[in-house]
């Protein structure tokens, strides 16, 4: 599979640092599941995180911290490993977790003209994620968004005025981008779309979102 549209360095670094809102992290994790280039680029960003940690100034641990941890090594049972999903032809494993099953479990809601969407539940409300189902040949309905929108193709393909996006490709659209993507003829198109939600931002989320807005 050849992927032509990738995560940019801003998103990769924020995902490596763990500062992306959950919905954006879901899009990043899903793209990386399909894209070895970005998987390798993520590893390089994480190596930078490791170097930052290693040069970090030391904060004195409490007296007895080591003993406390040693005492927990046998006592605390290891957390059970996350269950591995069987490989799904459309939904990579991070999405299977959010959908709670395969495509049959998706709770689609009609948006008109045969287009359907399913909002995925994220606990952190800084951004929202949904699956879009666009019949072959159909235009994606106008969906205004503030800030940034990521659209990751899972099945089929869509085109806008200049580019084509197929499975694994991710489109990064800013606020100013006017585009009218159209699903290609042949196969119905399924995408993961992530937008910053029009919510009242509180706490740490807006601060984390700022770099995303500024791209």
């Amino acid at each position: 599979m050849t992927i032509n549209h990738h995560l940019n360095d801003d998103l990769l670094m924020a995902y490596a640092a763990g500062t992306l809102p959950e919905a954006f992290s879901l899009a990043a994790a899903t793209h990386i599941s399909l894209c070895d280039d970005c998987r390798a680029a993520l590893a390089a960003q994480e190596a930078l995180g490791g170097a930052v940690l290693n040069m970090q100034g030391e904060a004195v641990m409490n007296a007895g911290a080591l003993d406390a941890v040693l005492a927990r090594l046998d006592a605390a049972p290891p957390t059970p490993p996350a269950k591995q999903h069987a490989r799904h032809p459309v939904l990579p494993s991070p999405l299977l977790d959010y959908v709670g099953g395969d495509l049959a479990s998706v709770k689609w809601r009609p948006l008109g003209m045969g287009v359907r969407q399913a909002i995925l539940t994220t606990r952190d409300r800084g951004a929202s994620a949904r699956l879009l189902y666009i019949p072959a040949g159909q235009a994606v309905p106008d969906h205004g968004h503030r800030g940034m929108e990521l659209t990751l193709v899972l099945q089929g393909a869509f085109r806008d005025e200049t580019q084509r996006f197929a499975r694994g490709d991710i489109e990064i659209a800013g606020e100013a981008d006017e585009h009218t993507p159209v699903a290609e003829a042949g196969m119905d198109c399924i995408c993961l779309a992530v937008t910053d939600a029009p919510l009242r931002f509180k706490g740490m989320i807006p601060r984390l979102m700022q770099p995303v807005f500024r791209i």
């Binding site: 360095d9 801003d10 670094m13 924020a14 490596a16 640092a17 763990g18 500062t19 959950e22 992290s25 879901l26 990043a28 994790a29 899903t30 990386i32 599941s33 070895d36 280039d37 998987r39 390798a40 680029a41 590893a43 390089a44 960003q45 994480e46 190596a47 930078l48 995180g49 490791g50 170097a51 930052v52 940690l53 290693n54 970090q56 100034g57 030391e58 904060a59 004195v60 641990m61 409490n62 911290a65 080591l66 406390a68 941890v69 040693l70 927990r72 090594l73 957390t79 996350a82 591995q84 990579p92 494993s93 991070p94 977790d97 959010y98 994220t122 952190d124 601060r207 984390l208 770099p211």
Partner: protein
Amino acid sequence: MMAVRDGGDRAAFAQLFHHFAPRVKGFLMKSGSDGALAEELAQDVMTTVWHKSAQFDPARASVATWIFTIARNRRIDHFRRTRRPEPEALDWGEDSEPDQADIYEAAQEARLLAAALETLPEAQRALIQSAFFGDLSHGEIAAQTGLPLGTIKSRIRLALERLRQTLK
């Protein structure tokens, strides 16, 4: 780390603890935790290092990088009360021993990266650090200029290609 992973060696674990626990605590305090919380989370992180040591692969990441990802995930779990969506795991194969040349190269790259980070101008280094503390500011990507991240990406990209070949 290998003695911890392969031998369950507690003395080796104590050495890892002395090196990394204070750094993890310092890192978490820079990320906005107070001292007591950072202490608790740093102890959790070191406990996880022990329990997940079987997953450590020196051909793919340095010890510092691997512990960084554990600390990062613990921070997300705690502050967001939600898990970080992770990419689909790759099956690197249980018994495929990592290539010694890969391990050597990975260690070499980690040293080069650390040295490059040390020699960056202070302002540039501070930008990168704050990006990882969760205190991003504009231009942090430009701040990475001059760091040998491309070589790390290329080597891992090659390893992934080899893996895909064997999976075919």
